[in-house]
Amino acid sequence: MDKLDNQGIWTYLQEKFGERVGIIGEPHGLLTISTSKDDIIELLSFLKDDEKLQFIYLTDITAVHYPKQQKAFAVVYHVHNLYRNVRLRIKVFLEGENPTIPTATSIWHGANWMERETYDFFGVVFEGHPDLRRILNMDDLDVFPMRKEYPLEDPNRVDKKDFYFGR
């Protein structure tokens, strides 16, 4: 594999992982693959340590909430091969109200706060995380504010009622 293009990466991963990885597409040239939560750590370590792939840099971890889907949460990883400048996006779809996924802190130290942020906002529990606490919100918040059902404003507040504006 001389050139590390999307097709090459995908074929290479298929040889190694077979049906355990799936392809979602390549929106705007960024190859997006999916896997399950059982395989994610193996996949990430392989991407980082393999001599051909060398995705050594973890750019970002975040999550997305799709309340209408059965697998309502997607944890999204962006990794970057700094040697050849190739980016890759990995998605893991998770089921249930309190989804769990293994932590990536064993692979990158930098995953620590990114996972804490994801937990703080979406309630995705990263199993094995050394310090899984809320990071940006206050500690006694009992909801996960980036979930879609959480309203932007407090629905009980009265100071914005039309009544007060003569409507």
Binding site: P27, H28, T59, T62, V64, N85, W108, L136, P145
Partner: protein, 411 residues
């Protein structure tokens, strides 16, 4: 410790169970402390002057930008990005515009790209001026800060000339700029690249070979490239460790590939190297601005936005007199535009590192999900682990040299 107070006399001294000299003291640095330059707290266990361990608490100015962004049309998100890294708002603004343009597949004219490059590099210089100036102040050299601060004021005057605002600029629009740079703006940019080099030289003269400064910073908080990459560092502090990762070079946007500039790197990753890398980047930014001015001369004049009427707000006089423009105006303001379902990750080289925008769009009025990959947030998480074993005064200058901006940290 069980002895009651009444028994304490000269003849009957108190013997503590633990020798007080072994005890650690808990010290809160922050949330509002003059040395933290922003609202964040570090709870440190200290042994004398030395930090044994520390825990960072952040989120004091969290404003839920990602949640708000899910309820706003694209052009209303630009003011939110202003308030991420407010020392270099234009870079954030341009990064956001470019993300949306990537989503909508808008081709931007060359002249507009060069104009953007000028604005972004000016913002980078302004940001580095703050960081290096403050680093000087924290090591006890106040005058350099005042010399360069004047020049930052001049950069803000240029921003004022371009968009009317100084700090939170909201500069540009999706598709280009809201208006062309006027004569005064061009004159001031040209004046800036003439008047700034002597000031920067003087600033460097104050610090680079200054023995006090070198002894305070050299070898302090040195980071290896492996550590830095494992902690996902980016920007000048990563380059100070010797890794030449610069988004402008590896992933060029805004025609950066046409410009001739160097990526300065350090060797030891300590505070001194970070200072030197930022200084060198200011020189490179000046070079880039000079080249961009030359390139603008060669482009057809008067173009300041792409020809995309369905996404770019029409001028007001047309809105009042032209039916088509009125329709577009209404559609854009209400967010009723046709946009593709897609997802985009776009990164720009912010003043602190890789500033990424991860946008998932479902074709509606507002983004389905928008995530900011904020360099300050990612860079800062190494601060507490790397501080253990450090002197408090070293930790303070380490924090200054990381250039953590509270707005970007907390989003």
């Amino acid at each position: 410790m069980s002895k009651s107070i009444s028994k304490i006399t000269h003849n009957n001294p108190v013997f503590y169970d633990n020798d007080p000299q072994d005890e650690l003291i808990t010290l809160n640095i922050g949330p509002t402390h003059p040395a933290t330059h922003g609202v964040f707290q570090n709870v440190c266990q200290i042994d004398g002057e030395r930090i044994v361990s520390g825990v960072s608490t952040i989120g004091y100015i969290h404003r839920a930008f990602e949640k708000i962004a899910e309820h706003r049309p694209f052009y209303q998100i630009t003011p939110l990005t202003d308030r991420l890294n407010y020392c270099s708002s234009p870079i954030n603004n341009m990064g956001w515009h470019m993300t949306v343009e990537k989503l909508l597949n808008i081709e931007i004219p060359k002249r507009v790209q060069y104009m953007r490059v000028i604005v972004m590099e000016l913002a980078r210089i302004a940001d580095h001026i703050i960081c290096n100036g403050i680093l000087g102040v924290d090591t006890g050299a106040f005058s350099g800060f005042l010399y360069v601060m004047q020049e930052r004021e001049f950069i803000y005057e240029i921003f004022e000339e371009i968009c009317g605002a100084r700090l939170t600029t909201n500069i540009g629009r999706i598709g280009g700029f809201e208006r062309d740079f006027n004569e005064v703006a061009f004159r001031k940019i040209k004046e800036f690249i003439k008047r700034y080099p002597p000031v920067l030289e003087e600033f460097e003269e104050l610090f680079v070979r200054n023995r006090i400064f070198i002894e305070r910073t050299s070898g302090v908080a040195a980071v290896t490239p492996e550590q830095a990459l494992s902690y996902s560092w980016s920007g000048p502090i990563l380059r100070a460790t010797g890794v030449d990762y610069d988004v402008r070079v590896v992933d060029p946007y805004c025609s950066y590939e046409e410009f001739d500039f160097e990526v300065p790197v350090g060797t030891s990753g300590d505070v001194y190297d970070r200072f030197m890398v930022r200084n060198a980047e200011m020189w490179q930014s000046l070079r880039i601005i000079g080249q961009a001015l030359e390139k603008i001369e060669k482009e057809p004049q008067g173009i300041f936005h792409a020809d995309v009427p369905e996404f770019y707000l029409p001028p007001k006089e047309q809105v009042y007199n032209n039916m088509e423009a009125l329709i577009y105006h209404f559609k854009i303001v209400m967010g009723e535009w046709e946009t593709p379902k897609s997802e985009v990750y776009h990164a720009v080289e912010g003043a602190n590192g890789e500033l990424g925008f991860y946008l998932i769009h479902d074709g509606g009025r507002t983004p389905y999900r928008l995530h900011f990959r904020r360099p300050s947030f990612v860079n800062y998480q190494m601060f507490a682990p790397m501080s253990s074993g450090m002197l408090i005064s070293d930790a303070i200058i380490n924090m200054s040299s990381l250039n953590v901006i509270a707005g970007e940290l907390d989003a």
